[in-house]
């Protein structure tokens, strides 16, 4: 995220240079627009800088989340990533005449659960519609979606940003969720430009999607990226979507416009092709800046679809749709309205209980959501909010952290550093997940316990950690014994070492005796150097104080 802001300011810088070249006499109002870093790093400064005629970005998102289910939305063919082409296609998915849609109960429940997680109103009656367009990966010539009355409406997503000078201030923001609708995914096209043909794989055709439409409540790429990240965590916690962007399970389109605060929204463009969270922020910030540039030059922003090119970092117009699209929406004649029930009491007499989707039951099954989990971690363990973000962001890390705590008496506030710095640092460096860690939670707990009980010093503990990482399977006590890393607490041995240090540093001793007690730390460092960090610091301090006081 920091990188994206840096990139954005660099971009702005270049743009400014160009503008100065092009319009040497115009004063550059453009400077601080949408540089999110600026805004947070110096809030007071921005307030004075911001004039009413300044253009700001407005961002709304449309997110397609693939429902994590065994079978497709309207057919019983399996849902799987990277299977042989066209091996997961039923006659319905291939739109053979005479086939009919049969709705998957799991997909309905997933959409209801997702709606509930965002505090949506669940429509007890929702409708299916056909949206028509011609494309080879949509064999029916239309997509079944929910245009008029989606399954869930009017929700809210609360997400947080880390701001402030040290980026350790948690800023809470909200974005309204307009609706959650069920719809079919399309197949995949492989374009063969050389032979001028398109290869069609219908494995994905008909997979259930939840389209989440967010209101334009965000103002920059970083906010959008943070909102998407939170959404991703929520969907993963619910299990309704696996949320892997690289496998296309979560796809984001951004609607971007710029305006002066208080004025009506500007003409928007739709940015597609954003396939990673990293590019999302960049694509949006690029597009906001591009539109500001267009307007500053006196031009107008075209309502168009643009694609993000991750190589150049630019958005480029996509092939022009021939005029305005007309999807010819019509009610889906093959599907009666979808009814869900608030509780079992509201079931119609004679209705099949196995068939019914009961909102109340799904609400009961809602798991702990990421924001609640973070609050609980901060409250229970007294850790910093930013640490709770780190823990929750990494799959399995909360469980790991809590497992370590169960086996050590070390304070949670001290354990957190080990988990978020040492462990996570190593994992990231080697691109591993928490479950792949060569050091189990109980092995780490054992190591920390040794440090806590004074058997090893903290610097040695870090050394042992590294050893444990590379020579997996060896326990901390084994390594300590093999390498003779145990804390030197033999009083006589320490006395000798301390004496040597005192004798060879008369100036420091003199300073201490004259009242500069801080110099004692230097002597302590020298002792630790002598013992390779193995000396018991409490004991050393006592001995040194004794030897310098007389």
């Amino acid at each position: 995220m920091a990188a994206s802001c840096a990139a954005a300011s660099e971009l702005l810088h270049n743009v400014n240079k160009q503008i100065k070249l092009l319009f040497p006499k115009t004063s550059c109002v453009i400077r601080r627009i949408s540089t999110t870093a600026d805004r947070w790093d110096s809030p007071t400064q921005v307030k004075t800088k911001r004039s009413p005629q300044q253009l700001v970005g407005v961002v709304g998102l449309e997110i397609h989340a693939q429902i994590h289910s065994n079978t497709k939305l309207f057919s019983g063919s399996a849902v799987r990533f990277s299977s042989p082409p066209n091996s997961l296609v039923s006659f319905f998915d291939a739109s053979l005449p005479g086939t009919l849609p049969v709705l998957n109960k799991r997909c309905v429940e997933a959409a209801v659960m997702t709606g509930l997680a965002f505090n949506c109103t669940i429509n007890k009656k929702s409708l299916f519609d056909r949206k028509h367009y011609f494309y080879a990966d949509l064999p029916a010539g239309y997509q079944i979606t929910q245009q008029r009355r989606p399954i869930a409406v009017d929700g809210i997503l609360t997400y947080s940003l880390l701001g402030g000078l040290k980026r350790n201030q948690v800023l809470k923001k909200t974005v309204r969720i307009k609706q959650v609708q069920l719809e079919q995914d399309s197949g995949k096209s492989l374009h063969d430009d050389l032979q001028s043909q398109t290869l069609i794989d219908l494995n994905r055709a008909g997979v259930g999607l939840m389209e989440l439409v967010m209101e334009p409540d965000m103002s920059c790429g970083e906010e959008a990226a943070a909102a998407v990240r939170e959404l991703q965590l929520i969907l993963q916690a619910l299990g309704t979507c696996q949320g892997n962007m690289s496998e296309g399970q979560l796809r984001v389109d951004a609607n971007v416009s710029v305006h002066r605060p208080g004025e009506p929204l500007g003409v928007r463009t739709e940015v597609k092709n954003i396939n990673s969270a990293r590019y999302l922020a960049r694509a949006i910030d690029y597009e906001i800046q591009r539109q500001i540039d267009v307007l500053q030059r006196g031009g107008t922003v075209q309502n168009e679809t643009r694609a993000y090119d991750s190589k150049s970092g630019e958005t480029i117009p996509m092939r022009d749709k021939e005029g305005l699209q007309d999807y010819r929406f019509m009610p889906e004649p093959n599907l009666p309205p979808l009814i869900v029930y608030e509780d079992n009491a509201s079931l119609l007499p004679g209705a099949d209980v196995c068939q019914a989707v009961v909102v109340h039951e799904i609400r009961e099954r809602l798991p702990e959501l990421p924001s609640v989990k973070r609050d609980r971690l901060v409250r229970t363990y007294g850790i910093l909010p930013e640490h709770s973000f780190t823990l929750v962001n990494e799959e399995g890390l909360v469980e790991y952290f809590e497992a370590v705590l169960r086996e050590t008496k070390k304070e949670p506030r001290k354990v957190i550093g080990w988990v978020t710095n040492e462990l996570l640092g190593q994992l990231k460096q080697q691109d591993m997940s928490v479950s792949q860690s060569p050091i189990s939670a109980s092995a780490l707990a054992e190591l920390l316990e040794l440090q806590e009980t004074g058997r090893i010093s903290s610097s040695v503990a870090k050394q042992v950690f590294q050893e444990m990482w590379t020579s997996s399977g060896k326990t901390a006590p084994q390594i300590i014994q093999e390498k003779d890393l145990g804390l030197v607490s033999d009083a006589e041995q320490l006395h000798n070492i301390c004496q040597k240090v005192v004798d060879s540093n008369p100036d420091e001793v003199h300073a201490i005796r004259n009242g500069n007690k801080k110099v004692l730390n230097k002597l302590m460092g020298l002792v630790q150097k002598e013992t390779k960090g193995r000396a018991d610091p409490v004991l050393v301090r006592t001995i040194l104080q004794e030897k310098t006081s007389s």
């Binding site: 289910s69 019983g76 109960k105 799991r106 409708l127 398109t198 009666p336 009814i339």
Partner: protein
């Protein structure tokens, strides 16, 4: 209303059935058109005999037993719709059907005129129906895989395949410009 309109569009298609573009993925263009033709026939039969042969409900006395017909005076109808060339373009593009012949246009205008009679019907306070099935319970299926795995069978339907892929033209082929198309369609002019 909806079903009705679609029937009209289909009857328009009937004029220029030969101009229907073959569907990309299925080379069997003939069966697609004959499918439409069958549907068209079934609409006609529906419109003619409204004796509710298949209704399981006892006959509702409010519904006449045979179709009744009262011609609507022309002055009660709105102005006849004119179809500008741009709209023909748009309709052809949306439906992927060519009907730019004198007869095709006349047929469309006649169909719209026919539908104009619906304006006379007072529908205030009547909620439109989506389908005749709207009070039925929507069946929900369990999430167990039971289909698919029939790539060979499906690919056999396609004129062109590469390995296990269907082969389609690149992207959407843009329709030719109006002038080009007029030249193209000269032969179909009556």
């Amino acid at each position: 209303m909806l079903v009705f309109c679609r029937a009209v569009v289909r009857s328009c298609r009937g004029v220029t059935l030969d101009n229907i573009r073959p569907f990309h993925l299925f080379n069997d263009g003939y069966s697609v058109t004959s499918f439409h033709r069958r549907k068209l026939q079934s609409h006609i039969t529906c419109n003619v005999c409204v004796t509710r042969l298949f209704s399981s409900q006892p006959h509702n006395p409010k519904v006449p037993k045979v179709a009744t017909w009262e011609p609507v005076q022309d002055d009660q109808l709105p102005q006849p719709a004119k179809i500008p060339a741009d709209l023909v373009d748009k309709l052809e593009r949306l439906a992927l059907v060519d009907f730019r012949t004198k007869q095709g246009l006349a047929c469309l205008e006649k169909a719209i005129r026919f539908a104009d009679q619906l304006h006379v019907v007072d529908t205030s306070g009547v909620e439109p129906m989506d389908s005749v099935l709207e009070d039925r319970v929507l069946y929900l299926r369990n999430d167990t895989a039971k289909e698919g795995d029939c790539a060979e069978e499906l690919l056999r339907l396609s004129k062109q395949t590469i390995e296990e892929y269907f082969v389609a033209p690149p992207g959407n082929i843009p329709l030719p410009k109006r002038e080009d198309r007029t030249a193209l369609l000269k032969h179909s002019e009556f």
